[in-house]
């Protein structure tokens, strides 16, 4: 009996040690070949990469059909297979950071311009100006190249660009007896009361005060119009903890009184829905909501697109949102860049830009697709015209935290927890300490 006990004990211990060893190796132990790969071999494998296939990650389903089509053509032409993956927007940042820490990045990925500097500093991505042709480099608009550049080098490839302006419901303005579409935030605030009637569920404006990213999407055009900014000129401290910043936040707080009351949990899609369902008489965004109405065969002729409203000194800026394609340091960067160059053509990506209502940032798209310059194309032409006044969010390492700190302060002011001045002071201190870090 004792011998059986001893045998059982030893067997259990051996099994346990064996299983733990297998776990810690981090590789499948299916074949002998796998087990015999030495460390140096693995390094070589990583450095050279897999030359037959690359992985490209996109977010959401936008343009997936065209991506698939392009991947098939790319394989026919080059023999390189592009494995497409689609991630949810909300998980993307966390997912890519986790993968990057484990060294398992995709070869290329569609993402946000605010990631560019952080990923560069972390060594996850590579500069792409040497990897793409000069034709493509020069094809990008100057504004697009600026947003994607760090110290003069292109660290991300400009992808979809959205320029955001004001959208008004002209019927609602007429009903309220407003003859002229407001041109300034002050003017709009004066009209806002006439456009608001909570008893009938009608409000002047749709905005966000809570969701970190979308709160800034809605607030930045006002901040810029009031001649303040997120950062100062040299990027060493905040640029909003001043009279202009306080005035801008006060304007946002005042607007909230006439806004659809879901702003605390709304995201940008909710504001869009509030406008397309005519609950809100105006909002600040692009034409994607109108494109949805158009696709559904519904009337959208009541919508008017204008430039962003101006501040007291006449400054006005459109919010530019630049999405990018990033090339990761996987050893396959040349192939990944080649694929992106193939994808960034009017017959592939250009079609997605057109379908989704984005503003092209490649000259060739304007040249080969007349729809982008057609004045009657209300989905794109008015926004394309705003490119010269477009301003983008800064690409800084701690952007996610800066964005959250600012959004929280704005939210507290809108909800009446802090005055505009207190909120701006608090956010200013916190942003400065983040920048110092």
């Amino acid at each position: 009996m004792r011998k059986i006990k001893t045998f059982l004990t030893l067997s259990l211990c051996v099994a346990m040690v064996g299983s733990l060893t297998a776990c810690s190796s981090g590789k499948d132990s299916n074949t002998e070949d796998d087990i015999n790969i030495s460390e140096s071999d693995k390094c070589v494998d990583e450095k050279i990469g897999n030359s037959n296939s690359i992985t490209y990650v996109t977010l959401g389903d936008t343009g997936m059909e065209h991506l698939k089509d392009a991947a098939i053509k790319f394989k026919e032409e080059t023999g390189i297979e592009v494995k497409l993956e689609s991630w949810a927007y909300s998980d993307a940042y966390q997912k890519i950071l986790t993968l990057a820490e484990g060294g398992n990045m995709p070869d290329a990925m569609y993402g946000f311009s605010s990631w560019t500097q952080q990923f560069k500093e972390a060594g996850y991505t590579v500069a792409i100006d040497k990897l793409i042709s000069s034709e493509l480099y020069n094809d990008f608009s100057e504004a697009a190249r600026d947003v994607c550049s760090v110290n003069g080098e292109l660290w991300a490839m400009p992808s979809y660009m959205s320029i955001r302006g004001m959208l008004f419901n002209k019927n609602r303005l007429e009903e309220a007896g407003i003859q002229q579409i407001p041109d300034t935030w002050e003017g709009f605030l004066k009209d806002a009361e006439k456009l608001t009637d909570p008893s009938t569920g009608k409000y002047a404006y749709a905005m966000v005060a809570g969701h970190p990213k979308n709160t800034l999407d809605c607030f930045l055009p006002i901040l810029w119009a009031y001649d303040a900014d997120v950062l100062n000129a040299d990027g060493t401290a905040n640029g909003f903890d001043n009279e202009n910043g306080i005035a801008a936040l006060q304007m946002y707080v005042d607007l909230a009184k006439y806004a659809v009351p879901d702003y605390g949990q709304a995201d940008i899609n909710s504001t869009q829905n509030n406008f397309t369902t005519q609950i809100a008489a105006s909002y600040f965004h692009n034409a994607q909501g109108l494109a949805a109405l158009k696709d559904a065969g519904e009337d959208y002729s009541w919508a008017v697109i204008t430039e962003p409203l101006a501040g007291p000194s006449g400054s006005r800026y459109a919010l530019g949102v630049m999405d990018v394609d990033l090339v990761f340091n996987t050893g396959n960067q040349e192939l990944a860049a080649k694929w992106l160059e193939f994808w960034h053509q009017p017959e592939y990506q250009g079609k997605v830009v057109d379908q989704s209502g984005w503003v092209p940032n490649q000259k060739s798209y304007f040249e080969s697709m007349p729809i982008f310059t057609d004045e009657s194309n209300v989905m794109i032409a008015p926004f394309a015209k705003m490119e010269p006044i477009a301003k983008f969010k800064p690409s800084i390492i701690c952007w996610e935290e800066v964005q959250k700190v600012m959004a929280d302060a704005i939210t507290k002011a809108v909800m009446g927890e802090l005055s505009a001045e207190e909120a701006i002071n608090l956010a200013g201190e916190q942003v400065d300490s983040l920048l110092m870090k």
Binding site: L12, A15, H211, Q265, D408
Partner: protein
């Protein structure tokens, strides 16, 4: 000191070998990660992935953060007030279900729905109900003239925590009711019969018989759901993501936010340590409370 015989030593080695697999698992998957978190809490991760030793800076930052008091208050309210309501509601439901009435089984099944429902589904339903534009709750309060205008319960810094707590209480109270009910069924009937013969009414029976007997079970249950509440992440994340402006965030949300959204692993580890210490107190209380078993002779 008596020297162990060879036989005893061998027995001890064999016994140790028996617990060795469990011990290895415990050390590898519980003790090691905890030590790793302690270690990480003294470091700051740079953007290039290097870990720099910063001493107790992460802990100082935590207590300097203007949102920290709110985080502690929210956690306190979420755990203690939440648990109190869950137990009270659970007790009320258990008392109702203890009585004999027509449709009792159906009632029990209906009562279990909130607990059995996946959190994602119940959060979706409650989000719709709380919606200020077309939700039932807002509309009902306006129609009954309790409210003048629409209120965004989840999107308001003053109401968001309470709104999420209601969902959590609604979901967990049935579990409490079932637990309390099972303890009540274990109370021998003759105790109640004797009380009735002595002229005790329903209220007196509850106060002098039921409550003292179930108190031990209530304490254990309270500690258990308190620990769960402390670690609740899903409901808050799905309802409000801790917002607006961290108004519904508890410690777990802060840990998640700093670890995965801001990539501040060291800072997040420091919050985890504070959370671990608080939870350890709960755990000790829970283990001690297990000794108060009631025995019927």
């Amino acid at each position: 000191m008596k020297k162990s015989s060879r036989k005893e030593v061998r027995e001890k080695i064999i016994n140790l070998a028996y617990v060795m697999p469990m011990l290895i698992i415990f050390l590898a998957f519980i003790i090691y990660p905890i030590l790793q978190i302690f270690y990480m809490s003294f470091f700051e991760r740079t953007v290039s992935g290097e870990m720099n030793f910063v001493g107790i800076k992460n802990f100082c930052d935590l207590f300097k953060n203007p949102d920290t008091p709110r985080m502690f208050i929210n956690t306190f309210v979420w755990v203690f007030i939440g648990v109190a309501f869950k137990l009270l509601l659970g007790l009320g439901m258990a008392l109702v279900l203890y009585e004999k009435f027509l449709g009792k089984k159906m009632m029990t099944a209906i009562m279990l729905i909130p607990y059995a429902m996946p959190a994602a589904v119940s959060c979706m339903i409650w989000r719709l109900m709380y919606n200020p534009m077309f939700g039932h709750i807002s509309q009902f309060l306006i129609d009954t003239h309790i409210l003048d205008g629409r209120i965004d319960f989840l999107g308001n810094t003053k109401t968001s925590l309470i709104a999420v707590m209601i969902v959590n209480i609604w979901a967990v109270a049935p579990f409490c009711a079932l637990n309390i009910l099972s303890t009540m069924y274990s109370i021998p009937n003759y105790i109640y019969e004797a009380a009735r013969i002595d002229g005790a009414g329903k209220w007196r029976q509850f106060w002098d018989i039921t409550l003292p007997i179930i108190t031990s079970s209530l304490k254990t249950l309270g500690l258990l759901i308190g620990i769960w509440a402390f670690n609740t992440f899903d409901v808050i994340f799905m309802m409000t993501q801790g917002g607006p402006a961290n108004s519904s965030s508890i410690m777990v949300n802060f840990i998640y936010q700093n670890a995965f959204q801001f990539n501040n692993r060291g800072y997040s580890a420091a919050i985890s340590i504070v959370s671990f210490i608080v939870l350890s107190i709960f755990a000790i209380l829970y283990v001690n409370s297990k000794g108060d078993d009631t025995r019927y002779e």
